[in-house]
Amino acid sequence: MKSVKVKGLKAGFVLARDVEDAAGYKLLKEGTVLSDAHVALLRSWKIPEVWVEESVRARGEPEAPKAGHAAGGDEKKREDALLEEGRSRLRRRFEGRLTNPWMKALYAEAEKRLLVPRFWRQARP
């Protein structure tokens, strides 16, 4: 088990302890194999570091990357992809709905908050 800064975290790491927020609420469970989405969430939750297993489970990530290095650019890309996916989903869901100034503001403000903490988000299929 080792502590890794979320900055240097990649998909494939396995959580060695539950991740909790400052108030002690469980956000992710021990044993979770982190996906790209998890990593993006941990970042949006402003979690500084997490405890992970020494070995990284497959998923095309054979070895633990050195924390904080190399991966930076890739993660930025992943986060951008996540945001872009969210944006296009929101565009679809607002199609034909921008019929008054409030609906336009609703759309614009929702778009600014695409990566808010997602405890409340239903797991998407």
């Binding site: 108030a23 002690g24 609420y25 929101l90 679809r92 869901r93 607002f94 199609e95 034909g96 709905r97 019929t99 008054n100 100034p101 409030w102 609906m103 336009k104 503001a105 609703l106 759309y107 403000e109 929702a110 600014k112 908050r113 808010v116 903490p117 405890f119 409340w120 988000r121 239903q122 797991a123």
Partner: protein, 283 residues
């Protein structure tokens, strides 16, 4: 016309739960200005599970009480009468509609409802209404019709979801498949249980641009909260297109277009505090 269809559907459900005596009594007491904490205590203490929920809630991080509260009477004082009533109503609907299949769907449904309740609370406080707790219930229960469909018309609901996924308007799909909308179904169920007329009006008219003039503000607030939560993709409903809330509803809720961002942030902050509440319900 489809309102009659809704009443007919509700009438046909044989195992529709009945509102427990204790909930009826709490609602009656809370409406009476002469009610004391002792009166509420006497009723709540007759229902062990409700009493336990109140104690757990008051001791949860949601309320942030420093020392643990073990007396039910003290818990009621801390929570306040409206909240006690809210918990009783929510616990009834929740207990009645949490069993059975598709629990995960229910979780998404309740996330949506609790977030809408938080939105109602935020707007009600901005409007400085006398009792924001009232508005909290409107948010919590506005989609009662959906939960009735989940429980009693699962096949129809699946067909509605498919139609919506392929781009059909929700209202049109509901009318085609069930013969009435979830608004009408929820209102019919609420009438069946003798819920207050305002609650019935909110269920019947949220996000429809219609509704009785005397409930304009309540309907407006619930409609705006519903749209805010759907736009933020909290809970279920985040797959469908966002409902159009008409200018009249935003105005009735006292919301200007440039306040929407601020209200979203307040809503999200309040949701953080509601985590304790939802964890209790999913215990």
């Amino acid at each position: 016309m489809s309102r009659e269809k809704a009443a007919e559907l509700i009438g046909k459900i044989e195992d529709l739960p009945t509102l427990p005596e204790v909930v009826i009594e709490i609602t009656r007491l809370v409406e009476n200005p002469d009610t004391t904490a002792e009166d509420i205590y006497r009723i709540v203490s007759t229902d062990v599970s409700l009493a336990a929920t109140m104690l757990k809630l008051v001791n949860s991080a949601f309320y942030g009480v420093a020392r643990s509260v073990t007396s039910l009477e003290k818990a009621i004082r801390i929570l306040g009468f409206s909240t006690v009533r809210n918990i009783a109503l929510a616990a009834f609907v929740f207990d009645s509609f949490m069993s059975g299949k598709g629990k995960l769907d229910y979780r998404g449904f309740w996330f949506h409802s609790i977030a809408a309740a938080a939105g109602c609370d935020v707007m009600a406080k901005r409007l400085r209404v006398k009792d924001p707790g009232e508005y909290y219930v409107y948010g919590l229960l506005h989609d009662l019709g959906v939960v009735v469909m989940m429980q009693y018309l699962p096949g129809e609901l699946a067909r509605i979801k498919d139609a919506v996924a392929s781009g059909k308007d929700l209202r049109a799909a509901e009318l085609e498949v069930v013969g009435c909308t979830h608004n009408e179904l929820g209102a019919a169920a609420a009438e069946h249980w003798d819920f207050p007329p305002t609650v019935v009006a909110v269920m019947a008219h949220h996000c429809s641009g219609a509704g009785e003039a005397q409930y304009r503000r309540e309907i407006g607030v619930a409609s705006c909260a519903d749209a805010l939560v759907q736009a933020l993709e909290v809970g279920s409903g985040a797959e469908a297109r966002v409902p159009v809330v008409e200018a009249a509803d935003w105005e009735a809720a006292g919301v200007t277009a440039d306040q929407i961002g601020g209200i979203m942030d307040e809503l999200l902050a309040e949701l953080e505090h509601s985590r304790g509440f939802i964890e209790l319900l999913f215990r």
